[in-house]
C-alpha cells in the first residue's frame, strides 16, 4: 500500500513530471476515475442550478475536473504546483484560467471571488513536509484560511482525497474548522476497499447537514448471509449427532466388532449421571 502512494515518492512538483502528466491524457482508466470523482464532487458542491458559477479547482492538474465543470456550464480557475500538468492542461485547450502556485502558501485571490471550490486527490499532498521549512499543520491552516477568505459566504468546498491514516484525517478536519469552515467527512462506499472515496465537504455559511454518502446496494450490512451452526448439521448428513444415544450405541457396536471388551447396552446407556456424582 505504502509503495503505491505517490506522496511517499517525491514532492508533487517533481512527481508529476512530463511522463506522469502524459498518463493523465492517455490512460483512459485514470481519466474515467478522475471524471467520476469530479462529477461526484460537483454534485456535493450543490451549486445553484442553471446559474453559471465561478469555481476554484485546487490541484487542477491537467484540467480533467475542469472539463467536467465546463460541461456543466461553470467557469473555473485552476491552481496547481506542477508546471508539466498545467502544460498538458494548456494542450487540452481547457477554458479555465490556470495558475502555477503552491496551495500551502495560500490562495492568492480577492475575498469573496468564488462560488465554490473543488479539489480532486490533492489534499493529501499538503500533509507532507517536502522541505525542511514545511510544517504541514501550518501549511494546511494557511491554505484553509485563505481559501475561506476567497469564497463567497454561501459557498461550499469539496475535497476528494486519499488519507493515509486516521491522524491525517483528524489533522485536516481540525485545521479546516480552525479556519472557520463547517462541515465534515463523507465516505462513499465505506465497505469497499477499492471504491471507497473520502470527501471532505466544507461550507462557509454555517452548520448544515451532510449529504448522504453513496453505498453499494448489494452489500447490506445488517443482512446475515449464513450461520456456521446450520452448516455443521448439513455436513453430518447420514451420521448421528455426537454424544447422542444413537451415536454411542453405534460406537459400542463398532468396538464389539473389533473384538474389544464392551459393556452390554441397557436402558442406562448414554444417560447422563445425576448431579450427586
Amino acid at each position: 500500500m505504502s509503495a503505491r502512494r505517490p506522496e511517499r515518492k517525491a514532492p508533487p512538483e517533481m512527481f508529476y513530471n512530463e511522463e506522469e502528466a502524459r498518463k493523465y491524457t492517455q490512460n483512459s482508466r485514470i481519466i474515467d476515475i478522475q471524471v467520476q470523482m469530479s462529477e461526484r464532487a460537483i454534485e456535493l458542491l450543490l451549486l445553484p442550478e442553471d446559474t453559471p458559477c465561478l469555481v476554484l479547482d485546487l490541484g487542477c492538474g491537467s484540467g480533467l475536473s475542469g472539463s467536467v465543470l465546463e460541461e456543466q456550464g461553470h467557469m473555473w480557475v485552476g491552481m496547481d504546483i506542477s508546471s508539466s500538468m498545467l502544460a498538458v492542461a494548456k494542450e487540452r485547450e481547457v477554458e479555465g484560467d490556470l495558475i502555477l502556485s503552491d496551495l500551502g502558501n495560500g490562495i492568492p485571490f480577492r475575498p469573496g471571488t468564488f462560488d465554490g471550490a473543488i479539489s480532486i486527490s490533492a489534499l493529501q499532498w499538503l500533509c507532507n513536509a517536502d522541505k525542511s521549512s514545511h510544517d504541514p499543520r501550518k501549511r494546511l491552516y494557511v491554505f484553509f484560511s485563505t481559501l475561506f477568505a476567497c469564497l463567497s459566504r454561501s459557498a461550499r468546498a469539496v475535497f476528494q482525497f486519499y488519507p493515509e491514516n486516521a491522524e491525517q484525517v483528524e489533522l485536516i478536519t481540525r485545521e479546516s474548522t480552525k479556519a472557520g469552515f463547517y462541515g465534515g467527512l463523507l465516505v462513499d462506499y465505506p465497505n469497499s476497499t477499492k471504491a471507497k472515496k473520502y470527501f471532505l465537504v466544507l461550507n462557509t455559511g454555517g452548520p448544515m447537514p451532510l449529504p448522504a454518502a453513496l453505498t453499494d446496494a448489494s452489500d447490506n450490512s445488517d443482512h446475515v448471509q449464513f450461520t456456521n451452526r446450520r452448516d455443521n448439521y448439513k455436513n453430518m448428513k447420514g451420521k448421528n449427532i455426537k454424544k447422542s444415544r444413537d451415536w454411542i450405541i453405534e460406537k459400542k457396536e463398532r468396538r464389539r466388532r473389533q473384538g474389544r471388551n464392551v459393556r452390554p447396552d441397557s436402558k442406562y446407556t448414554a444417560r447422563p449421571r445425576s448431579t450427586r456424582f
Binding site: T51, P52, C53, L54, G73, M75, I81, S83, L86, A87, K90, E95, D97, L98, I99, L100, S101, D102, N105, G106, P108, F109, R110, G112, T113, K131, S133, V142, T146
Partner: protein
C-alpha cells in the same frame, strides 16, 4: 483578481500591476448571466484601468453604468476584456514589494520562495 497577499508583509497586495508582452485573443461563448453575476465582485476601477492599460477597454468607461444588467453591448465588452483577452507572456507586479510574477504560456507563476513567506 489575483493578489499577492501571501507574501510577507503585504497587506492588501492588490491590484497587481500588469506588464503584457504578448496578448492572445481566445474566442469564448458569451454568457450573459455569468458576466452579470461577476461584475459586483470586480473592483471596477481596477478592472477598467487594467483593461485600458493593455488597450482593450473598448467602450467601457471609468464609471460603471447603472443599469448594466440590461445593456447587452456593455456586458459583451466586459466579457471580451475579462474572459477573451489572455495575456500570453508578461509579468504581474506586486504593488507593495515590486515582486514580479512571470506569466508564461498564459500561466502566471505564483510560486514563492521560502524566505518570502
Amino acid at each position: 483578481m489575483l493578489t499577492s497577499r501571501c507574501l510577507k508583509g503585504v497587506v492588501t497586495g492588490y491590484p497587481l500591476g500588469i506588464v503584457a508582452k504578448e496578448i492572445k485573443i481566445q474566442e469564448s461563448e458569451f454568457n450573459k448571466d455569468f458576466i452579470t453575476r461577476l461584475i459586483p465582485k470586480l473592483d471596477w476601477n481596477v478592472f477598467w484601468s487594467t483593461a485600458k492599460q493593455i488597450g482593450y477597454e473598448g467602450s467601457l468607461t471609468q464609471q460603471i453604468i447603472a443599469d448594466y444588467e440590461n445593456n447587452e453591448n456593455f456586458l459583451k465588452d466586459v466579457h471580451h476584456a475579462l474572459v477573451e483577452v489572455d495575456i500570453f507572456e508578461g509579468e504581474l507586479i506586486c504593488p507593495e514589494t515590486n515582486r514580479k510574477f512571470p506569466i508564461t504560456d498564459g500561466i502566471p507563476n505564483m510560486l514563492i520562495k521560502d524566505n518570502e513567506l
